[in-house]
Symmetry: C2
Subunit: 113 residues, 2 copies
């Protein structure tokens, strides 16, 4: 990950509604959930949620897929992990060693792939 990617991911997550949305999607796992379900849980107006989702989309933290009338949104775990790695990169490089990065790896993406 480059700095720009990290910045846009961090920026996307640094807002109450977006962080809540993202964490909800992380909890939901690889199946994700529909925009409507999300909207209901977060209790924000549709236009507001869309604006926030767009920020998360541009940051590549979530992806979505139309299923008929519904749009299903899922967290992009790879991007999250890349961000975590970026943040801990070079940890203590000037001094001593210390353990490297994290990981959250969902085991399958039900249905697809």
């Amino acid at each position: 990950m480059k700095m720009d990617g990290a910045l846009s991911a961090l920026n996307a997550l640094s807002h109450e509604t977006r962080l809540a949305a993202y964490r909800r999607l992380v909890k939901a796992g690889p199946d994700g959930m529909s925009v409507g379900e999300l909207r209901e849980e977060l209790d924000v107006p549709p236009a507001t949620l869309t604006a926030h989702l767009n920020v998360l989309r541009v940051a590549d933290l979530v992806q979505d897929q139309r299923e008929g009338r519904v749009i299903r949104v899922t967290a992009n775990f790879d991007q999250m992990n890349a961000l975590l790695a970026y943040l801990t990169e070079n940890c203590c490089a000037d001094a001593r060693q210390c353990e490297p990065a994290p990981v959250c790896v969902p085991h399958t993406r039900r249905g697809t792939r």
Copy 2:
């Protein structure tokens, strides 16, 4: 970590200068570096750097300590790890299991403790 803490940490990191500063401090390890050294590497006006450092301070991502005329700033690794854990918390809870959190643990804090 509570949501407020995560938000303020994420917000603090979601700015080019602050992210660069923070990463530089992570690289510096437990010894940190002086505000002046940091200022020179980042090449920003003093007032601007102070403003950014204050954001990182409030977020508890860095801590500092006066040493005579110089102020030595260090990354707060515990806070970083808490943030990483927060972000991956409940990963896939609705679906299947997946590995938990990360860590960056500097082995000693030279001099102090």
